[in-house]
């Protein structure tokens, strides 16, 4: 009686009951069908005139910029004399940018009231170090190579970071900028999440500004801002005042990736909710039907060491679920993406996801793993209860109820709920980072947290089931 023999035996058991084979097929069909339904029901009104960054991704690119044209190599040095604490992530610093079109290539270095010196390139952080105003900042360009430095006294410099930006043309805009993100207020109530944003205005003083290289002679002041944002009303005017080489800049907005939290990959995999309603009962019954009919005695008479029996059942049921789940997830993904695009989830806010992106592939595999772990939880629960109904009720309740409760309670409670119930496993199907902005509570935890929660449930159920199986008379 080796595990190999038991695996074959359990596989024969599973495939030789017609109803179970039908249930497996139904699980796949339901998953795809419900994914299509979920994708057809939604629509989006996310800001259409969003800026698009060099990578084709939606970005925020809102700030006040005072600049001169620089052709070829050169550098800028400033002393940020002071910075108002308008927001911890407000920025006051220097930048070289391909024109003043929102979304164009750039490299920047700035200080924040939050206490960091932050270097960015093309909407991503390159480097972050500790430091606040007053502080000297320097940015130099040598061909495509751009390096940034800071200094507390203007004579001894430390390098913050360097980057090669091939997309930057020979003639670019170089200068000072101020940005200050809005404050987000989130309210969750009975199935809706409302997001409120209060704009803030940053203000900073720049002194001892020096530009080297073949630069234009005069400064230009530009306010980069998302169309329509003006109407929201700013707390203060943005602009520049200059007196004796000292500049005071005020600016509103943020710079960085601005992906909407809505996850089209996840919406297109939502059908696993229907699939699990078939797979969990099947996994439970795969174990409990033996107890109901006394067949477990035949099984244990054939395999007196009982742990391998449960292992074999788990491997067979889990393996089959993974294969079915992966097939259903792949089909769901390919079928739902065009539907979602037709419902407004298209570029630029929603670039078409590709399986070649690691996070998309992870979400699709995550859907299969999600179903597999629920299936293993079902096998374990069945081994614990030995009766179908209580085990099915427990697993389904623990998975579905937190989904609904989590969407109507405050964020902190919802997040906790996701971290302590199998419902958190839904997070494995998200391709985007965790966010508090959505109604669905499982979006609040990351995929790995979801895997950990559900994996723990499955492992504990199997261990408890195995322990009881060894101890009990049958």
């Amino acid at each position: 009686m080796s595990l190999r023999h038991l695996l074959r035996a359990e596989w024969t058991k599973l495939r030789s009951v017609n109803r179970w084979v039908l249930a497996l097929a139904a699980a796949a069909v339901f998953t795809v069908a419900f994914s299509i339904l979920a994708s057809s029901g939604g629509s989006t009104d996310r800001q259409p005139n969003v800026a698009v960054g060099p990578g084709g991704k939606p970005v925020a690119d809102d700030f006040h910029f005072v600049h001169r044209t620089l052709t070829g190599d050169g550098s800028i040095v400033v002393r940020v004399a002071d910075q108002q604490n308008s927001h911890p992530q407000a920025m006051a610093g220097v930048m070289i940018k391909n024109g003043v079109t929102r979304g164009s290539s750039y490299v920047s270095i700035a200080v924040t009231p939050g206490g960091s010196v932050r270097m960015m390139a093309d909407f991503r952080d390159v480097e972050k170090r500790a430091g606040t105003a007053p502080r000297w900042l320097r940015l130099t360009r040598t061909g495509a190579h751009i390096a940034t430095y800071d200094s507390v006294d203007g004579s001894s410099w430390r390098e913050i970071g360097e980057v090669d930006l091939a997309a930057l043309p020979a003639t670019a805009e170089i200068g000072m900028y101020v940005s200050s993100p809005g404050e987000i207020r989130l309210e969750r109530s009975a199935g809706t999440t409302s997001v409120g944003e209060r704009l803030t205005t940053g203000r900073a003083t720049f002194a001892e500004v020096r530009v080297q290289g073949s630069a234009g002679s005069s400064w230009t002041s530009d306010d980069l801002i998302q169309p329509g944002l003006e109407r929201k009303g700013r707390p203060g005017p943005s602009g520049t005042t200059e007196a004796a080489g000292t500049f005071i800049l005020t600016g509103t907005g943020d710079i960085g990736l601005n992906e909407p939290p809505d996850d089209t990959v996840q919406i297109g995999l939502f059908g696993t909710l229907a699939g699990l309603l078939v797979l969990v009962p099947l996994a439970v019954v795969f174990v409990t039907s033996e107890y109901r009919r006394g067949m477990i005695r035949t099984t244990f008479a054939a395999a007196p060491a009982r742990t391998p029996v449960l292992v074999a059942k788990a491997v067979v049921m889990g393996g089959v679920t993974f294969v079915i789940g992966l097939a259903a997830a792949l089909v769901s993904f390919f079928v739902t993406q065009p539907i979602l695009r037709a419902h407004g989830f298209g570029p630029p806010m929603f670039p078409a996801p590709s399986l070649a992106e690691p996070r998309v592939l992870r979400a699709v595999i995550g859907a299969a793993v999600f179903l597999t772990l629920l299936s293993l939880l079902g096998v374990g629960a069945g081994a614990v209860t030995r009766r179908g109904a209580p085990a099915i009720a427990a697993v389904i309740t623990l998975t579905l109820v937190p989904m609904f409760v989590g969407s109507v309670v405050p964020a902190a409670a919802a997040r906790t709920l996701m971290l302590v119930t199998p419902a958190g496993g839904f997070a494995m199907q998200r391709a985007k980072p965790a966010t508090d902005w959505l109604v669905e509570p499982w979006a609040m935890i990351g995929p790995w947290a979801g895997l950990a929660v559900l994996g723990t449930y499955a492992a504990v159920a199997l261990l408890a089931g195995g322990w009881l199986m060894r101890r009990r008379d049958v």
């Binding site: 009686m1 023999h5 074959r8 009919r293 006394g294 005695r297 035949t298 008479a301 054939a302």
Partner: protein, 307 residues
């Protein structure tokens, strides 16, 4: 094929109920051992312990000198039919046997062989849910034979079988024992084992009552009685009493005589000129012998609780 079952000082309680209370017996190879007792005597519990399904509180049950749970391919050592209903109704007969064979690395061709052996070859592809109780018994027996084991256990195998099936299973049991296998068959009806069992283990209330051969049990139960049928019963009673016998009237024309051998009865009646139509030594049936035994066990059990 000289593997035997050894049960030693077996004790098993379920809550406050003692199912098996210090039971010891051996099932020898080459014999059919009948395991008899009223319902609730502990037969099924003992069989479950032998199969490692229930853990004994004290004592042990070994097969071939080893505990069942230590066996790697148990179906090749012990074949058992416990409950004919223990089949998934949606599974075909051959698939039920196939997974059992696979679990012990038994070649799949054995499935066809045992189905043939128990007469289910024609329904191999039918679902067990549609089987009659008799067909399920046969399927359970096929499962027991799958590993060609030297030890076989059948719990109430006759249940649900038609007369033809009963004849078949008796022949099967005799045949298995003749091949040198140890065969343990339980029943709550001693009569079912008549002509089948060589050895008897009789239990009541979890205890061993008798562990004997069928021949010895019958001889003891017959008790040397002689039955006489005569139309002149009063004269016969007097004659036989005078000859030293103890006589009891069992019918208007029938007497039972004890303490006299059959030939002495015949001689005394002939000498006195009393005619008789029939004279035969009484042969107890297994059922009678068993009733006597279990009645005693019940009385013994009842007396035990008195101070």
């Amino acid at each position: 094929m000289s593997t035997s079952i050894e049960v030693r000082d077996l004790r098993k309680r379920y809550g406050t109920t003692t199912a098996v209370d210090g039971l010891s017996f051996t099932v020898a190879p080459g014999e059919v051992t009948g395991f008899v007792g009223p319902n609730g005597a502990g037969k099924s519990t003992t069989m479950r312990v032998i199969l490692g399904l229930d853990a004994p509180d004290t004592g042990h049950a070994h097969v071939g000198g080893r505990p069942y749970r230590a066996m790697r391919r148990p179906l090749a050592v012990v074949g058992a039919l416990l409950d004919a209903g223990a089949v998934h109704p949606g599974r075909r007969a051959k698939d039920h046997l196939l997974w059992l064979a696979q679990s012990n690395g038994i070649p799949a061709r054995r499935v066809g062989e045992v189905l043939e052996e128990v007469g289910l070859a024609s329904v191999a592809r039918r679902r067990a849910g549609g089987f009659s109780l008799g067909m399920r018994q046969r399927l359970g027996i096929a499962a027991a034979l799958l590993g060609d084991p030297p030890v076989l256990m059948f719990d109430e195998p006759v249940n649900g079988l038609d007369p033809e099936g009963i004849v078949w299973i008796r022949g099967l049991l005799r045949g298995l024992a003749a091949e040198g296998r140890a065969v343990l068959v339980s029943s709550h009806l001693m009569g079912e084992l008549e002509g089948t069992a060589d050895h008897l283990v009789v239990v009541g209330r979890g205890r061993l009552l008798v562990d004997t051969t069928v021949g010895d049990l019958l001889a003891a139960a017959s008790g040397g009685r002689v039955e006489v049928r005569t139309t002149r019963r009063t004269e016969a009673m007097t004659v036989l009493a005078n000859a030293g016998g103890t006589v009891a009237l069992t019918d208007t024309d029938a007497l039972t005589v004890t303490e006299l051998a059959a030939e002495d009865v015949a001689a005394a009646l002939t000498a006195a000129g009393v005619p008789f139509s029939q004279l035969s030594p009484h042969r107890a049936t297994l059922e009678e012998a068993y009733m006597e035994l279990t009645r005693e066990s019940v009385e013994f059990g009842a007396m035990e609780v008195l101070p």
